[in-house]
Amino acid sequence: MARATPARWGEIILLTVFGAFIATFLIDVRHLPMEGKILSYVLAPPMVIFLLICTAAVVLPRKKSAENDYLPTELGNGAVELGETPAKKAPAGPAALGLGRTIAMGFVLFGCIYLFGFYFGSGLMLLAWFALFRRFTVATTAITVATPLLLYVLFEQVMPVGLYEGYIVHLLQR
């Protein structure tokens, strides 16, 4: 197996996720009634073949060069180059930290909204976000206060549809 450098771990994880999708598909499809199975069976072989092709690309040794480490998709400024694009390095240092923090804050946002509802939850998340980045200025404080207020006014007064109130509110209402 080719050396699983940190640069390729992400690719391996992604292939594992896709492989899990397809394995689930192949296992579950057997329990379907015949009528529902036909298209599933037609599609199953190509799915397996293509997954094997991509797995081979990861597993088999290949020439070590800068171009092979990542398949770039676009340049940093959003531009797209036609034809071959140059390789770019794995996110490391500040870039990887930025990615990790943003993913973590995504979960924090989900948790805050689930527990406290949209209004309070979004405000809490913004507070946590600017605290994490140590970026408390007049503008960011105003955004932290204004965003929940704006959501409340928009969804409770202007368009009275209401948003999720939060699990804790439901508990308190019982």
């Binding site: 598909f25 009634p33 797209v80 804050m105 989900f110």
Partner: protein, 506 residues
């Protein structure tokens, strides 16, 4: 007679739009939103559409469609601003604009370049709309010959072609497409009503809705990409970006050949599923160099380069080329069109010849709204250059949490489901890594949209054919589509092999 009917339809549609102040206000809002999101690098119309589509429920369908297209087209106007001022394209379609736009800005002619870009976008976009309005109803008459077997093959072709032309390897594109198909199968089976791949979770019984998935794959993953790079710190140099704007606008009419040719290139490329605005604008730019009497001036501040790029950018987009396969066949011409298609589905409209023929009034009203939006976009872009240029400088640390909140809001608004918010988050992370390692997220999204169409058509054809598969291989149109599919899949590899063989012999 045909042209008269089309003209009458458009006039009738203009009456609907202009006679309703709410419609005008909605279109103006869409244009402003589109201009701003197009101008901020890393955002783009896709994020605005994914967030706003779920919130357009109360709108009339024709107005909602015009609103979506207005956002899409206005983004192609707005992306010129950062390309010229900061050499940072707002979207991929304006990458070629920066090549000559930025040098013009450095020479103190930023307003001149922005005026030329805005007017070129306006003219190119209108040429695209005009030809689409004339071409789409005519094409729809032929698409009526399509039956369920043909729709099945068209859905498979749609997914496969995107895999072939998208970035990264074809195999990975097809894996992404097949996984998207699998995701579209989750939930109740169309034929038997039994649940599939739900693992007993009640939330999964309605399936994975493609809107939260798209919010994740486009909006959230884009924010994750922004988080890995510094941005928003560009400073507007000491230059007035409004000086010379009108002179720039007039420049477009001094190069009519370039403008019309670039618009037609954009229209043609935009109609090819998966080709995209970037291909259209670069091809048009390169053609302008080749046909110019002074090619050495390109890259140093030649306004014709800006005109060529922007005219193609707009002609290929939401109102032009990309709309042709989307409306006639229900196959999105680009990832932006995939979102427009999702918006149509959200409002209960099935794209295809039935929409064009039986909902012609709605279609013409949509085009009328788009024409009105183009005029609005031109004015907004010329008048709001300075405020939009300031918006480009919003730091990423402020932009990212706000977009995340909007994305979660959009996901929740669809079905009032916390589960959909979780789907958005998971697909956002998945989308980031897919894009990073060369798996096309556009393929996955298209497959999620086309999957139910493919399955429904498959079973309809299977039953019509007396429970035999031969119906897929015996109808002339089906055979033609199958041959096209094989050529599209195998053609690029064969071409590369032959090219290398010829090179080796030489």
């Amino acid at each position: 007679m045909y042209f008269l009917n089309v003209f009458e339809g458009v006039i009738h549609g203009l009456g609907w739009i202009l006679g309703d102040p709410t419609a005008v206000a909605v279109l103006l809002g869409g244009v402003i939103v589109g201009t701003v999101v197009g101008a901020i690098p890393g955002l783009g119309s896709k994020i605005a559409l994914t967030i706003l589509i779920p919130l357009t429920g109360p709108m009339a369908p024709y107005l909602a469609l015009a609103f979506f297209l207005a956002i899409s087209e206005a983004a192609s106007f707005g992306d010129t601003i950062p390309a010229v001022l900061f050499r940072t394209p707002g979207t991929a379609g304006s990458a070629a604009t920066a090549i000559d736009g930025y040098p013009l800005a450095q020479q103190g002619k930023a307003g001149y370049a922005l005026g030329a870009g805005a007017m070129a976008s306006f003219v190119g976009g209108n040429i695209g709309i005009l030809i689409s309005i004339l071409f789409i109803p005519w094409l729809a008459e032929y698409v009526l010959l399509f039956g369920p077997p043909e729709y099945f093959w068209m859905a498979i072709i749609g997914i496969s072609i995107i895999a072939v032309v998208s970035k990264g390897s074809i195999a990975k594109g097809l894996v992404a497409g097949l996984v998207g198909l699998f995701i579209s199968f989750i939930g109740y089976d169309l034929v038997t009503g039994k649940t599939r791949f739900t693992f007993g979770f009640m939330y999964m019984e309605d399936g994975i809705d493609f809107m939260p998935a798209m919010l994740g794959l486009f909006a959230v993953s884009e924010m994750l990409k922004l988080a890995t790079r510094r941005g928003g710190a560009t400073q507007l140099e000491n230059t007035d970006p409004t000086r010379g704007v009108w002179k720039g606008c007039l420049e477009v009419f001094r190069h009519p050949g370039t403008t019309v040719r670039s618009s037609l290139i954009g229209l043609f490329i935009g109609a090819i599923p998966g080709a995209g605005k970037a291909v259209a604008s670069f091809l048009s730019y390169l053609t302008a160099i080749r046909t110019s009497s002074h090619p050495e001036t390109f890259g140093k501040g030649e306004v014709e380069g800006v005109i060529a790029s922007e005219a193609a950018n707009n002609a290929s987009g939401g109102g032009g080329g990309a709309l042709i396969p989307t409306l006639t066949l229900g196959i999105p011409g680009s990832s932006g069109m995939a979102l427009i298609l999702a918006g149509m589905t959200f409002h209960g409209i099935r794209s295809g010849p039935s929409f064009i023929i039986f909902e012609a009034d709605m279609m013409y009203a949509m085009f009328a709204g788009l024409i009105v939006a183009m005029f609005m976009a031109l004015v907004v872009n010329l008048v709001l250059i300075k405020p939009v240029a300031k918006a480009v400088q919003i730091p990423n640390e402020i932009l990212i949490p706000l977009i995340l909140i909007m994305a979660f809001l959009g996901a929740y608004a669809l079905r009032s489901s916390i589960f959909d918010m979780g789907v958005t988050l998971v697909f956002g992370i998945l989308g980031y890594f897919m894009d990073r390692y060369g798996y096309s997220t556009v393929c996955m999204v298209l497959a999620m949209i086309l999957g139910p169409i493919a399955e429904e058509s498959f079973f309809q054809a299977y039953k019509i054919g007396g429970r035999s598969f031969s119906i897929f291989f015996t109808r002339p149109l089906s055979i033609a589509l199958l041959v096209f599919l094989v050529i599209a899949m195998v053609g690029p590899s064969v071409y590369q092999y032959l090219k290398q063989a010829v090179r080796r012999e030489a």
